[in-house]
C-alpha cells in the first residue's frame, strides 16, 4: 500500500546531511561563494557521505541506494549551500545517462572515474549542443548529449572552455564549453521511453537542489517575518503575507512530493517514470522561483543586500533552473508524451 516514509538507510542519510548542511555549510556559504568553492575539508566530509555515487551501482564505486536517496540527499545539502554542490557532486546528473547507456562497460568507466574525482562527466540536454554551460573551470573529460533519438558520448577533454559567470553558484565555478569540435566516442539509439527516463531522471538533480534552496529561503523569510514588526504586527501576520507564505509552503511541499514520487517510480522501474520526473522538475522550478522571490520580498530592502542570504538564494534559484536546458526544454519534452501518458496510480 502507499507509504511515504523513507527507508532507514535513506532517512539516516538525510538526517546526517541536514546536520552537515546546518553545521558546516550554512554559515560559511558566503565565504564559499567569495572563495570560489568548498574548502578541502568540507569536500572531504562531503565525499565521505558518498552522495555523488548514491544512485550509482556499487560495482561503479557507488552506493546503489537509488534515485530517491539522491534527491533526498541533494535537497538536504542544498539547504546549507547549493552554490558548491554543482561542482562537488562530480557525477551529477550525468549518472542518469550512464545508467541507460547500452554500453555499460563504457558507462561504468565514465562514472567510476567521476566518482574517484579523476575525470568529470557532464550531461547536455539542450537542443543546440554546440555550446553548454558547465560547472568547474575547465571542460569535462566526457560529455553525454541526449536528443530525442538517443544518446552520444563526446570526448570533451580538449574543448575550449571560457569563463561564464552565471551571477550565482560561484562556489561551483562555471564555464561555457565549446562542443563543436568534440570527438564522438560512441553513439546509441534509444527507444522513446528510455530517452524520457534519462532526461527526467537527470532533471531530478536540479529539482532536488532547487527544493533545498526554496526551503532554506522560505524558512529564513518566515523566521524574519515573525520577528520584524511593521504597522503594529509582525510582517508574517499581515494576512497578505501569511497567505503568500502558505502558498509558497504548499508549492514546496507539493513539489517535494512530486520529486520524491518520481524518484520512487524510477527506482521501481515503473513505465513512463521519466516523464513524471520531468513534470516534477517543473513543479520544483515553479516552487523555487516563487519561494526565493518571496524570500527576498519578506525582508523588504534587507532582502536585496548581502547582509542576509535571501538574495543569494534568489540568484541561485534562477541559475539552477537554467541547467539541463531549463524549463522550456522540459515543457517541450513533456508535451511529446502528455496526451498518451497513463495515470501513474490508477492505470
Amino acid at each position: 500500500m502507499i507509504d511515504f516514509s523513507l527507508t532507514d538507510d535513506i532517512g539516516a542519510l538525510e538526517a546526517e546531511l541536514l546536520r552537515f548542511a546546518s553545521n558546516q555549510l550554512r554559515d560559511r556559504a558566503r565565504g564559499f561563494e567569495a572563495g570560489g568553492g568548498w574548502d578541502a575539508a568540507t569536500l572531504k566530509t562531503f565525499r565521505a557521505f558518498g552522495v555523488a555515487g548514491v544512485d550509482a551501482p556499487e560495482s561503479w564505486g557507488g552506493v546503489d541506494l537509488g534515485a530517491l536517496a539522491k534527491v533526498v540527499a541533494l535537497e538536504a545539502i542544498s539547504r546549507g549551500d547549493a552554490g558548491g554542490i554543482v561542482a562537488a557532486d562530480t557525477a551529477g546528473p550525468a549518472t542518469a545517462a550512464a545508467l541507460v547507456c547500452p554500453d555499460q562497460t563504457l558507462a561504468a568507466r565514465v562514472v567510476t572515474a567521476a566518482l574517484a574525482g579523476e575525470n568529470r562527466a557532464a550531461l547536455v540536454l539542450a537542443d543546440q549542443a554546440d555550446e553548454a554551460w558547465m560547472p568547474g573551470s575547465t571542460a569535462p573529460a566526457w560529455t553525454w548529449t541526449s536528443h530525442s533519438g538517443g544518446l552520444r558520448l563526446l570526448d570533451t577533454a580538449g574543448c575550449a572552455a571560457t569563463l561564464a559567470d552565471a551571477g550565482a553558484l560561484h562556489a561551483s565555478g562555471g564555464v561555457a564549453v565549446d562542443l563543436s569540435g568534440a570527438e564522438t566516442v560512441a553513439e546509441w539509439t534509444l527507444d522513446p521511453e528510455t530517452v524520457a527516463l534519462l532526461r527526467g531522471r537527470a532533471r531530478l538533480w536540479p529539482a532536488a537542489v532547487l527544493l533545498g534552496v526554496a526551503t532554506a529561503s522560505l524558512d529564513y523569510g518566515m523566521a524574519y517575518a515573525r520577528e520584524r514588526v511593521v504597522m503594529g504586527i509582525p510582517v508574517a501576520h499581515h494576512q497578505g503575507n501569511a497567505f503568500a507564505i502558505a502558498e509558497a509552503a504548499g508549492m514546496i511541499e507539493a513539489a517535494r512530493a512530486s520529486v520524491r514520487a518520481a524518484a520512487v517510480r524510477i527506482d521501481q522501474a515503473m513505465s513512463w517514470a521519466g516523464v513524471w520526473a520531468t513534470l516534477a522538475y517543473l513543479d520544483a522550478v515553479d516552487a523555487a522561483l516563487h519561494a526565493t522571490d518571496l524570500g527576498v520580498q519578506l525582508l523588504g530592502g534587507h532582502g536585496y543586500v548581502e547582509d542576509h542570504p535571501a538574495e543569494k538564494w534568489f540568484r541561485e534559484a534562477r541559475a539552477l533552473t537554467q541547467l539541463l536546458g531549463g524549463r522550456q526544454s522540459a515543457i517541450a519534452d513533456a508535451a511529446e508524451y502528455v496526451l498518451d501518458l497513463p495515470d501513474p496510480l490508477l492505470a
Binding site: 539542450a126 537542443d127 543546440q128 555550446e131 553548454a132 554551460w133 561564464a164 559567470d165 552565471a166 551571477g167 550565482a168 562555471g174 561555457a176 511593521v230 504597522m231 503594529g232 504586527i233 499581515h238 497578505g240 503575507n241 522561483l289 522571490d293 527576498v296 520580498q297 523588504g300 530592502g301 532582502g303 536585496y304 543586500v305 548581502e306 547582509d307 538574495e311 534568489f314 540568484r315 534562477r318 541559475a319 533552473t321 537554467q322 541547467l323 539541463l324 536546458g325 531549463g326 524549463r327 522550456q328 526544454s329 515543457i331 517541450a332 508535451a335 511529446e336
Partner: protein, 403 residues
C-alpha cells in the same frame, strides 16, 4: 482636450529627447552598467561620463524627475508622462546607471512639492547651472527599523534657536554619499505619528552628517545605496521644507505621500523598461537560434505573447498615472496600481526570457541574469508591492489601517 484614450502618440519634443536617451543608452548606459555590475562598485562621481552627460543637459532632470515649469497658458505640459517614457527608455539600457546620473533624483520631488518658492530656487536651481561639476541630491526616509512603516521613523528633530538638531540613522539612501544635499524626513514628536513628520534639506558637509556604510547589493550596482547617521546635526531653520507653518494637518507626511504619487509611476516605468530589454533579448534569441517549427518554438512564442501583453499593459498603467498627475487630477490610486502591477510582472517577463534562452541565459554577457537581479529592487523601493496593495485596497474597499 485630447485624452490618452484618443491619442497615444508622443509629441515631437518627447521623441527628440527619447532619441537622445536611446543613443546615450546604447553608447554608455548599457556598457557602463555591465562594467559596474562586474566590478560590484558604482561609477565614481568624477567619472568622465557624468561630466559629459551633465554638460549635455540630459542628466537627472530629463530622465528621472522632470522639473520643467507648467506651460504658460495653464495647459498641462505632460512632463510626468514624458518622465515615464524616458524612465522606461533609460531603464531599458540600464536602470542602475540611470539612477546614478547627476541631478536631484529622488530628492527633487519633496523639495518641489513641499518647499517654499525660495527653497525651490535655493536647492533646485543649482542643477540648472551645468557649467560647474556634476551635482547629485538624495532622499532619506527609510531607517533600519522603519521602511514600509514610514510613520514609525525615529530620527528626531528638535528646534534649537534658529536651527534644528537632527539625530538618527537613515538606511538605503541612494546617491547620498555623493549628494550635495539630502532630503531627510524626521519626527518632531513620535507620539504624533505621521503628524509629527518634518522634512529637511541636509547639506553635505554639515557637521554630524556622516555616511557610514555603502550597501552590498544584489543588483543595480551602478549607484550606491548608503546608511548615514545624523548625530547632533544642526540644520538651519531655513532648511525645514515649507517652513514651520506648513506642518499643520499632517502636511509633512502628506508631502511625502504626494511625492510618491510622482515617483511611483516612474519606478513602475523602470520595470517596464527592464521587461522590454528582456523581451528583446528573447526575441533575438528566437530569431537566431530557435528551430523554425515545432513545439519548442510554439512554447517560446506563447511566452513572447505573454511578455508583450505584460509590457504594454504595465506601460499604460504608468502613463495613465502620470497623465492624471499632469492634469492636476488625483492619482494616488493609479500610481499605486502601476507600482503594484509592473515590477512583479517585469520579474516574470525576465524569467520567461530566461526560459526561452535556457542555458544561454545564465551567461553574464547575455545580460539577462543581471536584469533578473536588477528588476527585483523595483518591487521594494518606493513602497513594496504589498504596501501598494494596501493603498489600493484602502481606496477601493475601505480596508482599515493597521497599527
Amino acid at each position: 482636450m485630447k485624452t490618452i484614450e484618443s491619442t497615444l502618440e508622443l509629441d515631437q519634443r518627447t521623441r527628440a529627447v527619447l532619441e537622445q536617451v536611446r543613443n546615450l543608452g546604447a553608447s554608455h548606459l548599457r556598457p557602463l552598467g555591465l562594467q559596474a555590475d562586474r566590478a560590484g562598485a558604482p561609477l565614481p562621481p568624477d567619472h568622465p561620463f557624468f561630466e559629459m552627460v551633465w554638460r549635455s543637459g540630459l542628466a537627472g532632470g530629463a530622465l528621472a524627475a522632470p522639473e520643467e515649469e507648467e506651460g504658460g497658458d495653464g495647459a498641462p505640459n505632460y512632463r510626468h508622462v514624458r518622465g515615464c517614457v524616458l524612465a522606461e527608455e533609460a531603464s531599458y539600457w540600464d536602470r542602475g546607471v540611470a539612477v546614478s546620473l547627476p541631478g536631484p533624483g529622488l530628492g527633487g520631488p519633496p523639495v518641489q512639492l513641499m518647499g517654499t518658492p525660495a527653497q525651490r530656487e535655493q536647492f533646485l536651481s543649482i542643477f540648472r547651472d551645468r557649467t560647474g561639476p556634476p551635482l547629485w541630491a538624495a532622499f532619506a526616509m527609510t531607517e533600519p527599523g522603519a521602511g514600509s512603516d514610514v510613520a514609525r521613523i525615529e530620527t528626531r528633530c528638535t528646534k534649537d534657536g534658529d536651527h534644528w538638531v537632527l539625530n538618527g540613522t537613515k538606511m538605503f539612501s541612494s546617491n547620498s554619499k555623493r549628494a550635495r544635499w539630502v532630503a531627510v524626513f524626521a519626527t518632531a514628536d513620535r507620539a504624533q505619528g505621521r503628524a509629527g513628520h518634518r522634512a529637511f534639506v541636509v547639506e553635505s558637509g554639515t557637521p554630524g552628517f556622516e555616511v557610514i556604510r555603502v550597501e552590498k547589493k544584489m543588483g543595480v550596482r551602478a549607484y550606491e545605496t548608503c546608511t548615514f547617521v545624523l548625530q547632533d546635526c544642526r540644520v538651519p531653520a531655513g532648511n525645514l521644507l515649507g517652513g514651520e507653518e506648513y506642518y499643520g494637518e499632517r502636511r509633512g507626511f502628506k508631502g511625502a505621500m504626494a511625492s510618491f504619487n510622482a515617483t511611483r509611476p516612474v519606478i513602475a516605468a523602470n520595470a517596464v523598461g527592464i521587461a522590454r530589454a528582456a523581451a528583446d533579448i528573447a526575441r533575438d534569441f528566437i530569431h537566431d537560434e530557435y528551430p523554425r517549427t515545432g513545439t519548442r518554438r510554439a512554447l517560446a512564442l506563447e511566452r513572447m505573447v505573454d511578455m508583450r501583453r505584460a509590457i504594454e499593459r504595465s506601460r499604460l498603467l504608468c502613463l495613465r498615472a502620470a497623465w492624471r498627475l499632469d492634469r492636476g487630477e488625483p492619482n494616488a490610486l493609479e500610481s499605486s496600481l502601476a507600482k503594484m502591477h509592473a515590477p512583479p510582472v517585469a520579474l516574470r517577463a525576465v524569467s520567461m526570457a530566461f526560459d526561452i534562452l535556457g542555458e544561454a541565459g545564465i551567461r553574464r554577457d547575455r545580460l539577462l541574469e543581471k536584469l533578473y537581479r536588477d528588476v527585483k529592487v523595483l518591487d521594494i523601493v518606493e513602497g513594496t508591492q504589498q504596501v501598494q496593495r494596501l493603498i489600493v485596497a484602502r481606496r477601493l474597499v475601505g480596508l482599515p489601517s493597521q497599527g
